[in-house]
Assembly symmetry: C2
Homo-oligomer: 471 residues x 2
């Protein structure tokens, strides 16, 4: 057992998970035997996110006791990483003094995240237990729209006055560092908090102590406003390789910063949302295994219903088709519809991701159309030829289906080619148009496009078979 | 015009893009009039990633001239952000001295990224123009497998000896900072480079100068080995909120670090790969608009072919089906197949993403099965009831299709319910099994599952209609 304790720091990554499991498995025994000091030592070998995992895998009845074993700072770090149920239960078990202590250790933006997950009664207690200054900051952040930069910023940044020199700046950092989310990117303002420049800890560490900040700071500060879209801010942080992005109010006064970790969180959330929407699921934020089956059901069934009912269109077309055409053509309906759906899906997912990554906008509509038209013709032509040969060689010769004629093969191949071209164009342009008119492009990339393409492919097949080939 | 120059630093984000466009539009004029100093001033108002964008949007003939206007450091920063065609052309225009200068400004991992994109002849020149020490580091990194931590690490990190105090450490940082990718997370080793601890710039800045490093460093270092999977390393960096992760060799000697920006890159790449695979596309790394139509064609057409030919299975089943059953049942085939495909797709995308995010592994197979079984029953039951009513009310009463009977409605509804349950279970468990046997779960989440579910849904429909209801 001692082994886990002393060698944790030497474990390669694959074994950390098993270390978490091992520590978890010892908790009951240690608590029963009241070996609290040993238990504390054991747990403290692990980094905070792993300690939070232990809470997730341990019986609730041990939570309060385990939490009290942690030193203040580590307790706060661990608390932030827990799932909201565990957080809520712990808060309910805290005395007012304990709650105040934890809150004083949390960064403001983490407190805001916490508040957003808690029921009203717990929120009240949290606000009551915060210092008046923190409460004011929390309320400011909470008041910004959920999708804005203001809602993900923190008010705890390092700010220097433009009159300071490097020595004064370093002294200031030393004094305030403990409460700041990052000290590596600092901002220089005038007395009215108006943003004047940005200076990094690297610059401070490599400059002479008597250098005025105005000499080393970068005056071309890139900043965002509180109401800018948080997703765009996240992509900018990433693009410029910043650790933090300053956020200003309408008068260019510095009010907060968005840190890289929050930006990564935003990018991850948005990309998981795109995955969900493309699979026709309403996005949820909880991990799959922790989501109740009822929530999963609710996130999936409305889309299944919509798609099912919209497929009625295809069925209706198929009804008319069936009566008018030889039965042999019906055989190829699933293949044409399926290939059309897949072709459209390829284009729509590609274009939707490019929109999400800000690589594409409405002004590119024609370029996209022209690109997909050519790709569609190439794919359509190749698949058409393959299908023509396959229908004749496999269906007619190998399987001996006498109803299959050369004309049938031409009808099937030609319909497939046209369907692929149309599907690619619809799949690629619909998300761009959707974005332009304020709809969500990711939803367009979902099977909704497939449903649309299904209907169109049937009509193309019908049209080609009757009008062009006179079947 | 002057306005752009003087106010760039005050531009809110939405206007940066237009600033790039404006600067780009002035280049030709400035070059023609030989206003090089003004052009340089204009360009230097922009951050490096935006300058790189300007290269992308400007005629090639100006590139060498524009590049020579940039100061050394900014030139290197801009170079790193360019697309590989522009990089290659610039290198070809460089003298050997210029190339050496740029290379000396690049971080090692950026040089490695560059080498990976260049043709052999350019690679030779790059290696020849590097210092012997850099060349050794480059070769080391290039020798690690593409998916390993070693291949994304940099060898330029700050290392302290365990015998140093804070003052010595700060002096060391001041001396080496310029060449290091990050100075904010530093590592403490013994004389043999064996990893002993980690110390942050924040700790150094807030400790007394005579404190020994051994007193403030964190000895529980989490580290990875050169051969660990780069994706897993990226997720760990993110999980623990690190700016860098130390990479060691098999004897626990520090050989490099993976920095957060590279980790973000890995996570982004892997997630875009998942998007591509789920849409049945071979992943490519170039942005959509910059990919040639032939490359797009090649990344899409093999999957369309595979899926099209595999749909032959459904067609074959449908052939048998059609001969044996009343025509009315064929009408509902697209609806049942489509809904089955959508249901399976929902589950497979959810599960595949959970696997990618390391939330799920093979040991969860039964939990996933049990979860999806229940969700499948709920979705299947609800959609079955809706379909039963819809077939009777719409198809029979409203559309007056006399072939539709209550038995037909039961057959359709029951088949749909069973298909949804089966599709959900297949969609959710197949990616987990795929991962276990070393296949790519994201490929399983692609329309391949749809094709499988199509075939199964037809068989279920056939079985229910004939055996259970005797149609």
């Amino acid at each position: 057992m001692e082994e886990i304790i002393t060698t944790y720091g030497d474990l390669p990554i694959a074994e950390i998970e098993s270390a978490v499991e091992k520590v978890t498995s010892f908790i009951e025994e240690y608590v029963e035997e009241k070996k609290y000091r040993e238990l504390r030592e054991l747990i403290l070998q692990l980094p905070s996110p792993d300690i939070a995992e232990i809470f997730g895998e341990t019986d609730k009845k041990y939570h309060t006791l385990l939490f009290r074993l942690l030193p203040k700072e580590q307790a706060a770090e661990t608390f932030v990483e827990m799932d909201s149920d565990t957080q809520r239960r712990l808060i309910e078990s805290f005395t007012d003094a304990e709650l105040s202590e934890i809150l004083s250790e949390l960064y403001i933006d983490d407190t805001v995240d916490l508040i957003e997950e808690m029921p009203a009664i717990v929120v009240k207690r949290i606000l009551k237990s915060s210092t008046p200054q923190d409460r004011a900051s929390i309320n400011t952040i909470l008041n910004y729209p959920k999708s804005s930069a203001g809602s993900v910023m923190t008010t705890e940044y390092v700010r220097f006055l433009e009159t300071m020199d490097v020595e004064a700046a370093l002294t200031h950092i030393r004094r305030v560092a403990i409460d700041k989310e990052t000290i590596y990117t600092c901002y220089v303002t005038d007395r009215d908090r108006r943003l004047k420049g940005v200076v990094t800890a690297k610059q401070l560490l490599t400059s002479e102590l008597d250098t005025p900040l105005s000499e080393i700071m970068d005056e071309n500060v890139i900043f965002v406003s509180t109401h800018d879209d948080r997703e765009e801010v996240a992509y900018m942080l990433n693009k410029y390789g910043f650790l933090a992005m300053p956020v200003t109010d309408s008068e260019r006064r510095l009010v907060g910063i968005v840190t890289l970790d929050d930006a990564i969180e935003v990018i991850k959330e948005e990309s998981e949302e795109d995955f969900a929407k493309m699979a026709a699921i309403t996005p949820t934020e909880t991990p799959y295994l922790k989501t109740s089956i009822f929530s999963i059901f609710l996130s999936r069934v409305p889309w299944l219903l919509i798609l099912m009912l919209s497929s009625t269109i295809s069925s209706t077309i198929l009804t008319g088709f069936e009566a008018a055409l030889p039965a042999v053509l019906v055989l190829f309906v699933p293949m044409i519809m399926g290939t059309g759906g897949n072709s459209g899906g390829q284009s729509s997912v590609t274009v939707t991701r490019s929109i999400s990554l800000s690589e594409l906008d409405f002004s590119d509509l024609f370029r996209v159309f022209w690109k997909e038209l050519r790709v569609g013709i190439m794919c359509g032509a190749l698949l058409g030829v393959v299908t023509f040969l396959k229908v004749l060689l496999v269906d007619k010769l190998l399987l001996g289906n006498t109803a299959v004629t050369v004309t049938v093969a031409v009808a099937v191949a030609l319909s497939l080619t046209v369907t692929i071209i149309v599907a690619k164009i619809i799949g690629a342009t619909l998300p761009i148009v959707a974005k332009k008119i304020g709809l969500d492009p990711a939803v367009m990339a979902s099977p909704l496009i497939t449903t649309l393409v299904d209907a169109i492919s049937l009509m193309v097949y019908f049209f080609v078979s009757t009008n062009v080939l006179g079947l």
